[in-house]
């Protein structure tokens, strides 16, 4: 290194780079003072959460079975087995209609 280079180095070193802006230091502090949660911790938390959820489901199912043990569902009505009343039976029912409240049926209509 020659003497003239010493002068250049001295001139350059006389200048100081700008300091870091406060905002950048704050961003670094946020990154370094509050490090992100480790991957292993996340996996552990996921397992604990999943286990708790599974336990809730199991307890729910068992409780449901205790409260309503083997209740068989109602059989659905078989619509095909329905037989409509015959005309004679219908007229008989109308004839007996006198016992019904007046105005609900016409008792003479069966004899017409």
């Amino acid at each position: 290194m020659n003497e003239s280079f010493d002068k250049v180095e001295k001139d350059l070193a006389a200048l100081r780079p700008r300091p870091l802006p406060r905002e950048l230091v704050d961003r670094l502090a946020e990154d370094l003072d509050h490090p992100p949660v480790r991957w292993a911790d996340r996996v552990l938390a996921s397992f604990v959460g999943a286990g708790a959820l599974a336990a809730c489901v199991i307890v729910g199912v068992v409780t449901w079975n205790v409260i309503a043990p083997n209740e068989s569902p109602q059989q659905p009505t078989d619509l095909t087995s329905f037989t409509p009343a015959s005309l004679a039976a219908y007229q008989q029912m109308l004839a007996r209609g006198a016992s019904l409240p007046p105005g609900l049926v016409d008792p003479l209509s069966a004899t017409r």
Binding site: M1, S4, F5, K7, V8, E9, D11, L12, A13, A14, L15, R16, P17, R18, P19, L20, P21, L24, V25, R27, L28, A29, D31, L32, D33, H34, P35
Partner: protein, 167 residues
């Protein structure tokens, strides 16, 4: 995190922060890109410093690598738009007193004319205060190559600074 750990990274930042930002500014066009590079590079350095043979050289290498990283996220794009208005005011890379204003202008323009590979060696040597061996490690070149680039750079800077001083 322990308080001494926090103090520890702050000491590193106080010691090297401004030189790191200056280095990043040599590689990034925008101030905000350079600041992002310092943030990313410094965090990367701090979390992996245990495996560094030469921590100061590794720190400069991390920031240089971050500055050269061309991928930019959405967060950065948004901030670029936000501080576009203040870009010009912050574009000067040196904090110069009144008597050094002319020197600052000369140095900035002379540095800007240097090839990037020489510019980064000058920044690491003068303001980063790294040895040629450390610069070689940071740039993955030999110490001799680092010294050679430095000499070429000074040879180019000398007339620029001399003419500025003569005016």
């Amino acid at each position: 995190m322990a308080a001494d750990e926090s103090e520890s990274w702050r000491r590193w930042l106080d010691r090297h922060g401004s030189a790191l930002l200056l280095l990043a500014r040599q590689l990034c066009h925008r101030t905000s890109d350079a600041e992002d590079a310092v943030q990313d590079g410094f965090v990367r350095f701090w979390r992996s410093r245990a495996r560094a043979n030469d921590p100061p050289a590794y720190l400069f290498a991390c920031v240089r690598s971050a500055a050269m990283d061309s991928t930019r996220g959405r967060r950065r794009r948004a901030r670029h738009e936000a501080d576009a208005a203040t870009f010009d005011a912050r574009s000067s890379v040196f904090a110069a007193s009144v008597e050094h204003q002319e020197l600052r202008t000369n140095v900035e323009s002379a540095l800007a004319r240097l090839p990037a590979e020489q510019r980064e060696v000058v920044v690491m040597k003068i303001w980063g205060e790294l040895t040629f061996a450390q610069i070689g490690k940071a740039l993955t070149i030999s110490p001799d190559t680092a010294a050679s680039r430095y000499r070429y750079a000074l040879a180019k800077l000398e007339p620029a600074l001399a003419s500025g001083a003569a005016r």
